[in-house]
Amino acid sequence: MLHELTLSGLTSKLASKEVSSRDAMQACLDRIAAVDGQVNAFMSIDRDDALSQADAADAALAKGNTHIAQPLLGVPISLKDLFCAKGQPANCSSKILGDFHSPYDGTAVRKLRDAGAVLFGRVNMDEFAMGSSTENSAFGRSNNPWDLERVPGGSSGGCAASVAAQECFGSIGTDTGGSIRQPAALCGCVGLKPTYGRVSRYGVVAFASSLDQVGPLTKDVRDSATLLGAMSGHDPHDSTSVPTDVPDYVAELGGDLKGIKLGLPREFLIDGIDPEVRAAFDAAVKQCEALGAEIHEVSMPHTEYGVATYYIVATAEASANLARFDGIRYGDRVDGDDPFSLYCNTRGRGFGEEVKRRIILGTYVLSSGYYDAYYLRAQKARTLIKRDFEQAFETVDALITPTVPSPAFKAGEKMDDPLQMYLSDIFTISCNLAGTCGISLPCGFSNEPKLPIGLQFLGKPFGESQLLQIAHAYEQATPWHTERASL
């Protein structure tokens, strides 16, 4: 079946004219019709627009355009609901945006279009990317394709669910504290968070601007490399976009792990890791060793402060970023007698509970009298966490860790305890604070129920090429990435 192909599998069939982009798009729409009632990954789909984009790709293919020049030509890709794509809605899974439609294409979206992608559906997320389960979506949660009673992770849970349910050939998400890697781990797909500054954030609704980064969720590492290459590069519209060359990530794949030094951070291997996750992780480390990697224990002494640091920095930035949702220029407005009550009513009604919680926390840590004690101290803690990474990378090429301490949890399990929900991000958060890159890929399954387990590699800043090589070598030596959820 067409929807079962990987992205690279599809492009080779498109190139040989064995299938058309319209066939591929129709296969996704049929698959969505068949399974999305259970998975609930998609918020909205413009079918006519999707098929006309596919027809345009077919016309380009007929004219002789190739996947060398346009590596995504004719490939249906879904978008997390926070990317601005001209004419499409961008609700961020929030009520406050009403029937907002983007007036322009963001840079990542434009680059994907230039590479020939068919950008066809808006997938679910935690409201404004705040959450780890999609349960904070104002439009209902998505379900994990491996067990529908469980969450797909978050905040890019719709991305991961749509890839794992084979409803698209790749999906684009964002990662602020693990929001690509954690759902990828829980749904059994590959999720890459590039280095801060690698992919432009222009046209991406901001949550925490010093942490947010755009990245792909895919069925395998090669597809991840393809999508990263298409989106990366300097953008004058984003002053934090770094002007550095974009390697050919796909061409640089291959090879083994001989001579690669992998660091095992001892502070990550804490009590409280699920035994099946721990066993799968230990086996993955052995596998890397068998493939030629040297394993070195390293120390990251400030790891335990990561979550606290993150929840100060991220909420502070969120409180400033989300000030723009005031009911004046776009989105839903709840009237008031004066501008002040209009703001309060609009935001009180429009934002969900987690978003309110984080804006209020962020407002507090920045408020007069508390700034030094919370925000400034967290910025200093962040420096210490970054130094942990710099010191580790003096002796190793990459770090190897579990992505999440446990497999997917049941819906509702952590909703009344936000702190427990935050702690599920413990292994992914420090990468964002340090601004470096990370990838999660499948490394096994739990028994009863069968749920995916994720392995994380963390790489040096702008070291995506080596990170992808390491992940690819592990992936190709193991069977995990070929397993699919039975829906």
């Binding site: 439609h101 009180g348 408020s367 200093k380 210490l384």
Partner: protein
């Protein structure tokens, strides 16, 4: 850090978010727990540590101050809850 000082009403007002009494009680209690957890940063010795605002190896990114194309006024106003004559309509600010 004195999380006992945390006054949900005051901070929600600063954040321009109207809360129901139920929300005030629930969020207030949860934020108290979260602030209790965050308090662990007090243990850290941050003497002589420089604060870090972001991880990007760039400073003072500037561009030429010149007029560039933009989206048309119509598109900029298309998502407005209330607009007329090319303007956003807001409640009266000055009596």
């Amino acid at each position: 850090m004195a999380e006992t000082d945390f006054d949900i009403k005051y901070v929600a007002n600063l954040a321009r978010i109207a809360l129901t009494p139920d929300e005030e009680a629930k969020l207030g209690a949860q934020l108290g727990d979260i602030l209790g957890y965050i308090k662990q940063l007090e243990e850290l010795d941050v003497t002589d540590v420089e604060p870090m605002a972001h991880a990007v190896p760039l400073a003072n990114v500037l561009r030429a101050d010149e007029v560039r194309p933009s989206i048309p006024q119509e598109a900029a106003l298309a998502n407005a809850p209330k607009q007329t004559n090319g303007l956003f309509i807001v409640p009266k600010i000055v009596e």
